[in-house]
Amino acid sequence: MTTSTAAVKARGDAEGGGRATLARRLLETPEVGVVAACVVVFVALALDKSTFAGAVNLQGMGFDLAQYGLIAIGESLVILTGGIDLSVGALLGTSVILMSWFNVRAGLPPVLAIVLTLAITGAVGLIHGLAVTRLKMPPFVVTLVTYTVAQGVTLAITSGTSIIGIGGTFSNLGQTYVAQVPLPLIVFAVVAAVAWFFLERTYAGRQVYAVGGNPEAARLAGIRGDRRVVSMYVTSSLLSGFAGIFVLGRMGVGSASGVGVGWELSAIAAAVIGGVSLVGGQGRIVGIVAGTILLELINNGLTTLQINSNYTNIVLGCVLGLAITADRLRARSVAKRS
């Protein structure tokens, strides 16, 4: 191709910009695949089992979605900065226990228990952020420490027995419906909307992408990336604590075992399926939410289809593998054509 034709072509495209066909634009949107997958899986399951799309099942999925979705958003914010937060699940488990402990053993009113717990999780996030930015510690290691310690704290507080007798406020928060829609799901939608607005519509959000995409370029462009990174770690930890409220409300007891364990992996999987790049700087809320929904649809669908739950992880793992392969192929075809 000669330079002159290239220049002419470039000029023509620069004028219109909208000449690209819809199909091409769809192909260039990374989130298309996962959204389409959500629709396909939902329709297929709904056609196969009428109970799947029933109100009761949808409400159940709504509760699940809120739990996983909140920490998936926090996790994604950290991944966007080029880091990783392994502690989201363990911290959620700990905040469940902390809230019940403050409420039952320390006798504090539920609201105060929530505020205290959120303050603690926020402080943990602050420590993560400062360790990563100031001490230049690898995020993987920093949050691995919290992951371990948080699980230990949960055990130490409860000695393995669940805390019962928590205040009614929690179940009100965790089990209320607003016009048939579970309250936690509405909260999740609001959080997702706020996160979307932050990332797409504020300059601070754009700077998060810049820091994750190329920290040195961002620094030399005058962006104080450390602040953005720290605030994303704090947000992630806060969202873990926040999700803990709904988990506690739904279960009704401060369960000592198994709450939040392994959830960080679901959160990371949701982010990756939704098109978030693990090296940072790439990914959007639409994809993250769709990724969470897809995981939940599959999880719930397998139950509806009465498939042995021992197989669930195999299916989820395969979906994750499929998602990253598809994304890789799509990115490669886009790169080739340009």
Binding site: M1, A6, A7, K9, A10, R11, D13, A14, G17, A20, E200, R201, T202, Y203, A204, R206, Q207, Y209, A210, G213, N214, E216, A217, A218, R219, L220, A221, G222, I223, R224, S277, G281, Q282, S338
Partner: protein, 520 residues
């Protein structure tokens, strides 16, 4: 080494490489014969690195076929290229810093005298490795290197020699040297040239990529000139005078008499630096007036980039004062400098400027995000219009502002980076190698941008290793050596000899080094 009786060591047919729309290499036919040192010269971005990459298998050509010593090379297979007998000494050394010298030298292969038994295959032969490493180093003429020490503890020149020894150890048919002497002193440099000659005498082929034209003349049996990816001249040593090589390298673009900086310089001092020191820098005294373009010349490692980075606040300062726009200026982060009205176009576009995966729009608005937002909120319309204005003002050629910036050619990427800063309306613009990796056409456009910015009253500080560039665009050139300014030359005193002498300072033989860098 010469077990195959093929005269031709390398045969290229219709080899081309395109990135997107840009064809960076296009060679219809090229043969390299044994026993010759072939020098390849060309400006930055002329396609030299791509040619080497194609031969060594790290770059997959878009079209064409390659034969090494009569055997076809599967494109994009570094391991196969090595097995066929291509050894590359790169400019940036892919040495494993933590491993010892010996381990690096024998990386990816085994000592020659190692047994073939299962035991010998599995176990790392420490003694054999050490012995062979010592022998190799002696062969390339390096003495006094402890082969057990980690490579990262050695200074750059030694590492360069280790890298050469490593390539030598493969007993290659084709030895590719990519500016092997740029980091070496005169003595080591001569030793490398001798090695190249020895290799050619022994029946090997040498591909020598050089910037120092005197060196090229001294060593080459044949000189190839690349310009924008094409082979524009194939010269015998007799033909390859420095003037001829330069003419071929820059093509018709040499006529640049019209390029003079704007004349009016009577404005106030914008930047005033006194006794500025930092790691590897200073003390520096420097004044830049508004509307003035000041060049910073100097050898590699003379502190050009450091000066810019220290003024920007990207590198901590250890002493001295900077007065900017009449006020004491102490940036603790580049963010402070941006707020005060300073912009920096760094040296390495890919690493220091661009968000490669993100759109042109995001890249050009990066330094002005806060300005175009209202209470922290970006309005998509305003955002797009702002970016469109920048792209249009700078004449960046693109399909749409939403396409990834990495799709653009080097010149357009650089214009986008300029646009990012000009949009911030700075009072001082720091430019580090403003036209590195930029094609000739875009170069002229960038010079024009710098000129018109200065006309509007911007103070400009340009660091560059290309002397011609500085002599074209600057009012004044400050020459640095060993971290401090050693000369301040006004425009009517410009001359390569003057600048080179100053840059070389007390260092004997360094004049030649700068000469090479100036590509003259």
């Amino acid at each position: 080494m010469t077990d195959t009786p093929v005269e031709t060591a390398v045969r290229l047919r219709d080899v081309s490489k395109s990135y997107g729309l840009v064809k960076v290499l296009d060679i219809p036919c090229l043969d390299l014969v044994r026993g010759q040192i072939v020098a390849v010269v060309g400006e930055n971005g002329a396609g030299k690195s791509t040619l080497m990459g194609v031969l060594s298998g790290t770059v997959t050509p878009t079209t064409g076929s390659i034969e090494i010593a009569g055997r076809p090379l599967q494109p994009g297979r570094p391991d196969q290229s090595r097995d066929l007998g291509v050894a590359l000494v790169a400019q940036e050394f892919p040495l494993v810093g933590r491993l010892s010298v010996a381990e690096n030298l024998l990386l990816g292969r085994r000592p020659a005298d190692a047994g073939g038994g299962l035991f010998a295959r599995l176990i790392f032969d420490r003694r054999g490795t050490r012995a062979e490493a010592r022998a190799l180093l002696a062969e390339v003429g390096v003495t006094g290197v402890d082969v057990d020490r980690p490579v990262e503890r050695f200074p750059v020149p030694v590492r360069q020699m280790i890298e050469i020894a490593k390539a030598w150890g493969h007993h290659p048919v084709v030895l590719i040297l990519d500016e092997p002497t740029s980091s070496l002193g005169p003595v080591e440099a001569e030793r490398v040239l001798d090695l190249a000659r020895a290799h050619a005498r022994a029946g090997g082929a040498v591909l020598f990529i050089g910037h120092r034209l005197d060196e090229v003349r001294a060593v080459a049996d044949r000189v190839l000139v690349l310009r924008t990816g094409k082979l524009v001249a194939d010269l015998t040593p007799a033909e390859a005078s420095e003037q001829r090589m330069i003419r071929e390298m820059v093509g018709s673009e040499l006529a640049r008499a019209d390029l003079t900086p704007p004349s009016s310089v009577e404005r106030a001092t914008a930047l005033s630096v006194r006794d500025l020191t930092a790691d590897g820098l200073g003390p520096v005294d420097l004044d830049v007036k508004a509307g003035e373009i000041v060049g910073v010349a100097g050898l590699m490692g003379s502190g050009r980039s450091r000066l810019l980075h220290t003024i920007m606040g990207a590198q901590p300062r250890t002493g001295g004062t900077v007065t900017f726009e009449g006020r004491d200026f102490r940036p603790r982060h580049p963010g402070d400098a941006v707020e005060a009205g300073i912009g920096l176009v760094p040296e390495d576009r890919k690493v220091q400027s661009l968000l490669p995966a993100h759109s042109v729009r995001w890249n050009v608005t990066l330094a002005t995000l806060r300005g175009i937002s209202r209470r922290g909120v970006l309005r998509p319309r305003a955002d797009k219009e702002h970016a469109a204005r920048i792209v249009k003002d700078l004449g960046v050629r693109l399909h749409s502002q939403e396409q990834p910036v990495s799709d653009l050619s080097g010149g357009n990427q650089q214009k986008a980076v300029f646009g990012r800063w000009l949009a911030a309306e700075p009072k001082l613009l720091l430019l580090d190698e403003p036209t590195r990796g930029v094609d000739v056409g875009a170069k002229a456009e960038i010079y024009h941008l710098i000129d018109s910015a200065a006309e509007r009253g911007l103070a400009v500080l340009v660091a560059s290793s290309e002397l011609e560039e500085l002599m074209w665009i600057c009012h004044r050139i400050v020459v640095m050596s060993h971290g401090r300014p050693v000369a301040d030359i006004p425009r009517d005193g410009f001359g390569k000899e003057v600048i080179m002498t100053a840059a070389a300072g007390t260092q004997a033989g360094a004049a030649a080094e700068l000469k090479g860098k100036a590509r003259a």
